[in-house]
Amino acid sequence: MIDDKNLQQEMGEVAALPPSDPRRRDLELRLAEHPSSTIEQWRDLLLENDSFRDHLSKVDIPQDLENRLVAVAKVASPRRRVMARLGWVLVAAAAATLMLSTQLMSRYKASARMRTVALLAINNHLNHLENHAVDMKATEKKELERALSPMVGFQVVVPALGNGLELAGGRKCKLGTHTVAFTLWSDFAGDYSLFQFQTDRFGLPTTIQPKLVRSTQPAGAEHPCGAWIWTEGAYGYVLTGDPGIHIQRLSPRSGTVETK
């Protein structure tokens, strides 16, 4: 018997490891320095392993077992024939729902942002443009574009609004926190403000057909203000006018910008 209980324990455990295992090789190296009785006991353990293996495997296997097990596949169906397809249907439905929700959410967000920009423009036109003063009086679009572009830091492109609106001039101003190009227009009915902004600054899609946004400003007015908003690539426009003007009659068309 080995006195060292730890060694005995270790031998008992390590004997189950394969001969190539580093732990077993290490133990066998150390055992070489022990008395022959210890080495003998180690050999007995390994013999015992072989004996366990030999005797445990002596089990009579039923002759017809294999045939019976193979027959299982002939009488039953794998579960996935239904489940896998159902799984795919569910995955496809979930993906479609997710895409639809994302699109709806995206549209809702774009719509909400458009409305915000339009309301900012109406608010500016009514309250913050100091009697619609302009820094540069100009009736020529090209002249105004050249002058305004360096001031606002992006290329100003004045659209052709038509409808008898006449360009009066323009200047740099702010819409919310972003710099925009303001141009003043007028006709027989009153003044109009056109703001050109950078689409990405307001998180708007690059192509929005002209859309009319109505407001309740000024409060209590018989004919509140409205604004047209649209985007054409990197730039967007919002056009609003004095209270009482039937802004909807202007109906600007996208593509009115003459690209340079």
Binding site: A16, L56, K58, V59, E66, V72, A76
Partner: protein, 205 residues
Amino acid sequence: MGLVADASWDGTPGMTRIDRDRRIYEDLVRSHGGNLYRFAYRLCGDADMADDLVQETFFEAWRSIHSLRDPESGRSWLFQILRHRRAHGIRDRSRRVQPTADLERLVDVADNAGVDVLAKLSNQELLRLALEALNEQYREPFLLVFLEDFTCRETAELLSIPLGTVLSRIHRARQFLRRFLRQLDAADEPQAARTHGQHEGKGSL
């Protein structure tokens, strides 16, 4: 209908997915059916129970053959299923009365250095009794290593326990079997041993 749609799934002309599954399943039966039966028999200690367990295992394997991603890992996969089916069966049935052995008392009784343990192992009835007396948490790793030739590391993965735990359980199983067989030697014959085991109360192993 669906099978036609699935045809040539792997580029093999004329082979449907179900053909492929059936081929994998039959390979599993031929390669591992016997081993699983041996393991089940040593685990349950009863031929009929082992037969049922193996049937249930392969039925479940066939039903969920799609979850076998890599046929190379089929052996471990089957043993996992067998273990689950076994656990399920134990929960469902009222637990079989397991023979007991008070380990500490056995150590005292079996203080008989002259016993030839290896010779005892050749007696299958003694071996069956000895395994039956061994708690399942020790029996499983012992059988996986010494009967099924899983490495201790594979056994640890299969049982989801650390390698050190596998080694110590196998060691304790070995000690227990030795002592149990010594006690049987003292009792001199299997019938006497069975009676003895049934009346002495279960051990903690």
